[in-house]
């Protein structure tokens, strides 16, 4: 067997006696997954353990579960679901469909990167309304060269919205009941002032980022969870549109306005 090994604090495997490539027992942060957790823990409790390395409290488990429900289907208006549906109607493979959903759900407009940036604002501003207002009034700046394009709107707010959408209001109200002493509750209390400073209504990404702050989830872990927890809706909408077929999906045949047609000169 090789001397080079993978190091991990979150996972330990004991090999099968007759096969070093198959695990006999798997421990997640010390808990036997298939011998113990499978019987005693819920999916969300296991997910929390996997990401945070410790058992969640009842409140933490409930908050993560409800965040997962909030995220489960962004709906057919969402870019990531639209990307998935385009894969579905074309008859692309299911793995490719999910790749499309991930790629179109990763950016700074409503995607995973917006969660990271919003949480960075939380780290800087905490529950200081004056600091938040100052930050939201400024054009976001990219401090150093990055793989990602710079965000172009106040993070956590909807640059194309006119008023705070009902699902956002309902979600914020409910989640801040679950966790009444943290970022969600503060956001709920100060929403209108923050929206005035941002010049835009609060977006669901803003609520979810506050939820991750209350779970004390690091930015990158939050981004990962945001990316993967939004996939179920993308998956099923894509499969549904695949059944309907491309002829029933908007094609916008007359929708292209070519601005530099050489035949026009």
């Amino acid at each position: 067997m090789s001397d080079e090994k993978i190091s991990s604090k979150i996972w330990q495997e004991i090999p099968e006696p007759d096969n070093p490539f198959a695990a006999s027992v798997c421990y997640c942060s010390g808990y036997d997954v298939y011998g113990e957790l499978l019987r005693k823990a819920s999916w969300v409790e296991y997910l929390y353990l996997l990401f945070q390395g410790e058992r969640p409290t009842d409140v933490q488990a409930r908050l993560l579960e409800k965040l997962a429900m909030v995220l489960a289907n962004p709906g057919p208006r969402d870019h990531s679901v639209r990307a998935a549906m385009n894969g579905g109607v074309g008859g692309s493979t299911n793995a490719a469909i999910l790749m499309a959903a991930l790629a179109a759900g990763a950016g700074t407009l409503g995607g995973g990167r917006e969660i990271v940036i919003t949480m960075q604002y939380w780290a800087r501003c905490g529950r200081n309304l004056k600091l938040w207002t100052q930050h939201l009034l400024q054009t976001p700046r990219q401090e150093k060269p990055e793989n990602w394009p710079a965000i172009e709107h106040p993070p956590g707010f909807d640059p194309y919205g006119s008023s705070c959408a009902k699902p956002v209001l309902d979600t914020l109200a409910y989640l801040s009941d679950i966790y009444s002493s943290g970022a969600l509750a503060w956001l709920n209390m100060n929403r209108t002032e923050l929206e005035d400073a941002a010049g835009s209504p609060l977006a669901l990404a803003g609520v979810v980022a506050a939820g991750f702050v209350d779970l004390e989830m690091e930015e990158e872990k939050s981004e990962m969870l945001y990316l993967l927890l939004r996939l179920p809706g993308a998956a099923i909408h894509a499969l549904e549109q695949k059944q309907y077929g491309w002829r029933k999906y908007p094609f916008f045949s007359d929708g292209v306005e070519l601005l530099d047609d050489p035949a026009a000169n």
């Binding site: 870019h79 990307a83 074309g90 493979t93 490719a96 790749m99 499309a100 991930l102 995607g111 394009p149």
Partner: protein, 141 residues
């Protein structure tokens, strides 16, 4: 050989004819020194050599290049381009946008899957014609 023994053979090594980089020394690309032997290739030539292991002559390269150029439709309505466009809209990275668009391009109604079916049809039809079948018989079945 089956079972875990076969996995042990490649647990921590790759046996390959595809190449390797000996940093600060040289790079081998399919049995050739990349910089010394292949450095004058066009990108398309290298790409094709990498995939097939073959060198293509000037006429073949011209045809293949023309296929690539002539089928590069930048139309936002086509479903794989819409995926890329959506990724641009949400300010995802270029790499993610292109990867996702390429992945969905193996679609049933365009792209990879029809291409495979057409290739199969052409090859099997040619083989059947060489065994005294007629085109009419083959196309109508």
């Amino acid at each position: 050989m089956a079972g875990p023994e076969i996995l042990l053979q490649s647990e921590d090594r790759w046996q390959t004819r595809m190449g390797a980089a000996m940093l600060q020394e040289r790079v081998v690309f399919r049995g050739k020194d990349l910089h010394r032997d292949l450095g004058d290739m066009s990108w398309l030539e290298l790409y094709l050599y990498g995939i097939t292991g073959r060198n293509f002559d000037a006429v073949e390269l011209k045809i293949l290049n023309a296929i690539w150029v002539f089928t590069s439709y930048p139309d936002p309505r086509i479903w794989n381009n819409r995926v890329a466009g959506l990724c641009g809209t949400v300010r995802s990275t270029g790499a993610l946008s292109l990867s996702a668009a390429c992945a969905v391009s193996y679609a049933e109604i365009y792209g990879g899957q029809p291409l495979i079916k057409v290739l199969h049809f052409l090859k099997s039809t040619l083989a059947s014609l060489q065994h005294d079948k007629t085109l009419g018989e083959l196309v109508n079945t």
